[in-house]
Symmetry: C2
Subunit: 341 residues, 2 copies
Amino acid sequence: MAELIKVAVDAHGGDNAPTEVVKGVVMALNELDNLKVYLVGMEDIINKELEGKTYDKDRLEIVNATEIIQMAEPPVAAIRRKKDSSIVKGMHLVRNGEADAFVSCGSTGAVLVGGQVIVGRLKGVERPPLAPLIPTAKGFTLLIDCGANVDAKPSNLVQFAKMGTVYMKKMMGIENPTVGIVNIGAEEEKGNMLVKDTFPMLKNCPDINFIGSVEARDIPSGYCDIVVCDAFVGNVILKLYEGLSSMLVSEIKGAMMSSTRSKIGGALVKPAIKNKMKSFSSSEYGGAPLLGLKGLVVKGHGSSDDVEIKNAIRQAVQYTESGMLNILSESFAITEAQEEE
Amino acid sequence: MAELIKVAVDAHGGDNAPTEVVKGVVMALNELDNLKVYLVGMEDIINKELEGKTYDKDRLEIVNATEIIQMAEPPVAAIRRKKDSSIVKGMHLVRNGEADAFVSCGSTGAVLVGGQVIVGRLKGVERPPLAPLIPTAKGFTLLIDCGANVDAKPSNLVQFAKMGTVYMKKMMGIENPTVGIVNIGAEEEKGNMLVKDTFPMLKNCPDINFIGSVEARDIPSGYCDIVVCDAFVGNVILKLYEGLSSMLVSEIKGAMMSSTRSKIGGALVKPAIKNKMKSFSSSEYGGAPLLGLKGLVVKGHGSSDDVEIKNAIRQAVQYTESGMLNILSESFAITEAQEEE
C-alpha cells in the first residue's frame, strides 16, 4: 500500500460543525484509499457523530481537544490562550510533522494567526497569503491574497504571484497561468502607491506570466488565472462577490415568484439556471489554501457542508501528492540565498 | 419667470456622443422650464444633430470647442494641452460663473483633473471625491470616493463622509443618512492602517451618523446609505459591481436559452425579471457628482443614452436648486477657520 497522506481536520470549525464535518471526513475516507484523518475536537461529541457510520477505522484517529475558538474571538489572543482548542492542536500536528495538512472551516483570523505562529513560514517567505478560487465565466481564478496582509509591501505581492503560479500549475494543471494585478485602469502609470511600485517588479519577474493590470470589472469574466492584490482589496473583492451574487440570485428568485406567469416560467427555467446560480452564490470553489507555510493549511468556507468538507480534504491530499511544498520551499529558499549573497 | 439654471454639457463625452448627448439635452430642455444649456463642442456637428428637433432655442447656446479629449489620453497632459476641448471649455464656464454645473460622460480622469485644476476646490476641502450611487436591494447607496484619491488620508475620508451626508440629505431626502467605512471585519480593531486611523475620527465626528464598519458583503443589501472608502477600493467596488452583475445576467440569460423548456420558461419570466436585471447590469444610478468644488461637475456613465444624459442634467439642476454648494462651502470654510484658530 502506498504511504498514507495524513490530514488533520478541525471537527468544530464552521456553521455546520461537527455534524457535516464528520460526515465529510467519512466521505473522504471512503473515497480516498491513501488518506488518514486526525479528527481534532471533543472526543465524546465526535464519537457520537461517528455512530452508525461505515468507514475504515484504522485510518481515522480522534485527537481530543477540549476547547473551541469561536468565530468572534480576537484571533491572536485565542491562539495564545486556547492551547487545547481544535485549531491549535490541529496546527501542532502539522508543525510536528504528524500531519501533512490541516483543514478548518473555523475562524479565518485564528487560522491565519495559527498558521503563521504555530505551523510557521517556509524559509524565504515573507507573508503567507490565503488564496481562494473564485468562480468566473471561464471557470475559476485564484485571488491572492485574501488573508491577513492588509498593509502589504511590493515584495509581498511579488511572492504572492510566484506562489499562486506554482499552485495553479501544480494543483489546477494550468500550464502557464496568467497573472494580473488589481488596478483601477489598464495603464502602468495608474494605481495607488503599492500598485505603482509593484507593477515593474512583476513585469521583471521571470517566474511568472504577468499580463499587467486587471480592472475589477474584468475579474468575473476570467481575464486572468491569478489575481494579485493586498489582502484588504482581496477581502473586498471576495466578500462583494459573495454579497452581490447572493443578492442578485435572491432578487431574481423573488421576481420569479411575483406573478402566476413568472412562477410557471420560473419552474421551467429552474433546472437550467440552478447550477449557474449555485456556483455564483457561493463565492469560492473548495477551500482556500494558506500558502508559504511549512505544511498546508486549508481554510474551508464557514458554511461548508459534507461534500465541501470532503473536497477540502481531497484538496489537501492532492497538494501533498503534488509535492508543491518542496517546490515552494526550494524556490523561496533559493531566492533568499541569492539575496543574501 | 424664475431665474434660469445654467448647465454646461460636454457634447463629445461618452460612447454615444454626440447623438445621444444632443437628444438628452433636448429632452432636458423640454422637461425643465428653468434650464439653460451651454452645449460645448464642435458647432457644425452639434447643429447637424439638432436639425429637426423641437426645443426652446432661447435656452440652448452652443459653445464652440474644436478639440476632443479621448478616453485613453493621460488626463493631466490632456487638460493642460487641449485648451479648446469640450471638457476644458465646459469647466471654464463653471469657473467663470457663467454656468452652475458641467455634465460630461467623457474621460473620468480628465473630468477629475479638470474639476480640481480648472473649477477648483472649495475653501477647506482637501480632496474632491467622486460619488456615484450604486444599486442595492433597498434602493441605492452613495459610494464615496471613486475618484482620484487612491492614497487618501484619514482626514480626506472624514471629509468624504461629511460631503456624502449633505448630498444624501439634500439630494435624496434621507433625513439622517447612515455612514459606514469599508472594512474587512465588523470590529473597530480590524482593517488596514488607513481604516484603523480613520475609524475613531468618524466615530467622533458630530456631523455624521456613523454606524461603523461595513463589510463588502453587506454593501449590496443596502446596509448603509453612505459607504466611505479610498478611491482605489471605491473603484474596485464600483467596477466589480458592474462586471459581476453583467456577467451573472448574461450567464443566466445563456442558461435560459440552453433548452426548449428553459426558453419557454425564460419567455414567461422575462417581464418580471427584466427590470431587476437591468437595474443591476448598469452599476450606477444617474451621474456621479464630483463634490467639494466651486461649482458642480457631474460625471455621467460612459455608456449613457439620451435618458441618462437628461437625468444627469436634471441632477445638476436639482443640485443647484438645493443650495448644496452654499451649505458645503459654509461647512468646510467654518471647519478651516476653526482649525486655524
